[in-house]
């Protein structure tokens, strides 16, 4: 990744990208569907990426990457193929192609960076938007829960999958490096706080990401051949988490959130903790 991207100020996706690319190394091709990362690259004839980037239609990242991976392998090349898509391109319009690519055992890494809404079109709700969050298409707050894409991916039983958060870039680095050592499909789900979308000051992206983990809204864990390992940051949060309100109140998107919705979110956090802990114990 080169300097001078055309990302928004405080964009945590560009932070994540820097570490993803550092970890992947030069023999890498990125496949990017319509998303914020299409914009971050810059405008033709310029590009801020120091690896080839193939831009593809919104719902087609995994399928395109699957063709690319097969072609590289047929030519005897080990080039890393990384599909890099947003939550819209993953949880919503791209889910069919992604499911197909995972089912077929495609040798690639699929990264979903999740800013919990359609960011580059001005924040419309997506399947990744949490309950209670305001977007331009849920002006009074989303009434449906966030889709648990990780459970869906887990059902495909890939050799490796993990969650990460842009506020912990070294963790991203390690997980990308690890994912690329496996043959077959691997998955990394990165929470990517978004200042204009979540409506907080631009300098607070890292803080927001850390709060997501410390309150339990986001859980860092890995699933390697089915074995679940919860990350130390989330382990700490499970022992003693910060009040959810610490995460919600600095964000304009949760302004005026119904206390009942906050209660539901808290229940969901508790349920998530319980489920993952049980899975970790069961697979130990």
């Amino acid at each position: 990744m080169l300097k001078c991207t055309s990302a928004c100020a405080g964009c945590s996706d560009s932070l994540a990208l820097r570490y993803v690319l550092k970890a992947a190394g030069p023999d890498t091709v990125m496949v990017v569907p319509a998303c914020c990362t299409s914009v971050i690259q810059g405008i033709y004839p310029n590009t801020a990426f120091n690896v080839p980037v193939y831009n593809i239609a919104f719902g087609a990242a995994a399928a395109c990457a699957s063709g690319m991976s097969n072609a590289f392998r047929a030519a005897g090349k080990k080039t890393n193929v990384i599909a890099y898509a947003g939550d819209g391109g993953t949880l919503d319009i791209g889910i069919q192609a992604m499911s197909g690519a995972f089912e077929r055992g495609t040798d690639f890494l699929y990264i979903c960076y999740d800013n919990e809404a359609y960011g580059n079109t001005g924040m419309q709700r997506s399947g990744g938007t949490p309950m209670g969050a305001k977007t331009t298409t849920t002006p009074t707050g989303k009434t449906d829960a966030k889709k648990d894409i990780d459970m869906i991916i887990a059902a495909h039983d890939p050799p490796y999958m993990a969650t990460a958060c842009a506020a912990y870039p070294q963790d991203i680095f390690k997980k990308v490096q690890k994912a690329l050592t496996f043959r077959g499909p691997t998955f990394l789900h990165i929470l990517a706080p978004c200042p204009p979308g979540w409506r907080y000051p631009t300098e607070k992206s890292v803080e927001m990401g850390k709060l997501a983990v410390k309150t339990g809204m986001w859980v860092l864990y890995e699933r390697e051949y089915g074995k679940v390992t919860i990350g130390p940051q989330s382990k700490a949060a499970m022992k003693k988490s910060l009040p959810l309100e610490d995460y919600l109140s600095p964000q304009g998107r949760f302004k005026g959130i119904d206390p009942q919705v906050v209660e539901i979110l808290k229940q969901r956090i508790a349920k998530n903790f319980k489920r993952l802990t049980a899975e970790e114990e069961a697979s130990a």
Partner: protein, 370 residues
């Protein structure tokens, strides 16, 4: 070697000989036999390709795009709703200048569920930047598929090519097919802008109003250049293998007063109608349009023209008739026949010519002059 094969099998045989590195496809009636046969070729080791059994046609074309940009030869096949489902990606393939070859088995569109021949599926892809050829015999399906790879991958073209064959009427009937020893007829593929991590570049990045039209013009320029490449390829094919093809197949047109124009199997059956009409003293000829994109130069001066469309553009008219009108400026008799596999015999075609009313449109079976 001469053998008996269905249109689908002939296409698969040609694809095996052209030896693409990646085939990504999704089955659909009446195309299924093509992908089944290719899967069998791959599994049995007769075809050293990667066969990606994708979960949809949208993904089939996306996977072909991803494979093609690495610089390898790719193929897919579809039909009808499958083609419509991949429409977004057919535009992408052409815009990205990828020489993907696709067989499309022409079939009607739902509702209702009708699996029979119609050209509306492929004609809805007219403006995507794909070259389109329509074939009329099993032999031609085989020959055109082979030539499609060479034309698509030629550096003056670098656009995808769609080979169209009529559902069931051609996909499932059996005719003799003479397979060839390919030799060096299709040169090895070389994609000048293939993706290469040693030379990072952004493909299809944000493009402003000051640039986009240039890329679109480049497509058109190559489309125009493809005319010469098609002619050269067909000429070389004739020289090597003895079978001649052109933008149109003209039958008894030179001294004809009235010319029937159609595509696919109807265009072949029209030749039988021409013989019938000639016996009656009507100086008829048949002109079967093979290449719809790039659209051929048609010399129809001084002729009366009857166009049979196995397709329709609602609120406008027969699509091929419209194309001919706009390109030649002539007035013609537009017949809509064969939709959804409607049976059209050479007797029927002769009837269209006998009762022609230049300037009017006629829906066969609806029995009304509109």
């Amino acid at each position: 070697m001469k053998k008996i094969a269905t249109g689908n099998k002939a296409v698969a045989e040609a694809v095996m000989q052209a030896a693409p590195t990646v085939v990504a496809a999704y089955p659909i009636t009446p195309q299924t036999e093509i992908v089944e046969q290719i899967a069998e070729f791959v599994t049995s080791g007769r075809m050293p390709a990667k066969y990606i059994a994708v979960e949809s046609e949208h993904s089939a074309m996306a996977a072909c795009i991803g494979a093609s940009i690495t610089g390898v030869r790719t193929f897919t096949a579809t039909s009808s709703h499958g083609l419509l489902y991949m429409h977004e990606m057919t535009n992408w393939a052409a815009g990205a200048r990828l020489p993907i070859v696709m067989a499309n088995v022409n079939r009607s569109l739902g509702p209702g569920w009708n699996i029979w021949a119609e050209h509306t599926d492929a004609l809805q892809e007219r403006d995507t930047g794909w070259l389109q050829v329509y074939v009329s015999t099993v032999q031609e399906a085989y020959d055109a598929t082979l030539m499609a790879f060479r034309i698509a991958e030629h550096h003056d073209v670098l656009l995808p090519v769609m080979v169209n064959l009529d559902g069931f009427l051609l996909s499932h009937i059996m005719q003799p097919v003479d397979t060839v020893e390919l030799g060096d007829f299709i040169p090895p593929i070389h994609l000048p802008y293939a993706i290469d991590p040693k030379h990072p570049a952004g493909y299809g990045t944000l493009t402003g109003p000051d640039q986009q039209f240039k890329f679109r013009w480049e497509i058109e320029r190559s489309m125009r250049d493809s005319v010469k490449v098609i002619e050269e390829t067909e000429k070389d094919f004739a020289k090597r293998f003895g079978r001649k093809y052109g933008f149109t197949e003209d039958y008894r047109c030179e001294d004809a007063d009235v010319i029937v124009i159609a595509m696919g199997t109807l265009g072949k059956e029209a030749e039988v109608a021409v013989d019938l009409l000639r016996n009656e003293g009507i100086k008829a000829g048949s002109m079967r349009i093979r290449w719809l994109r790039p659209f051929p130069k048609l010399d129809l001066k001084g002729k009366e023209v009857v166009v049979i469309d196995r397709d329709y553009s609602f609120g406008f008219g027969g699509i091929v008739a419209g194309e001919i009108r706009s390109k030649t400026g002539i007035s013609l008799y537009s017949v809509i026949a064969g939709i959804g596999g409607q049976e059209v015999t050479y007797d029927d075609i002769a009837g269209f010519v006998r009762t022609r009313r230049i300037g009017e449109e006629f829906w066969f079976g609806v029995n009304a002059h509109v």
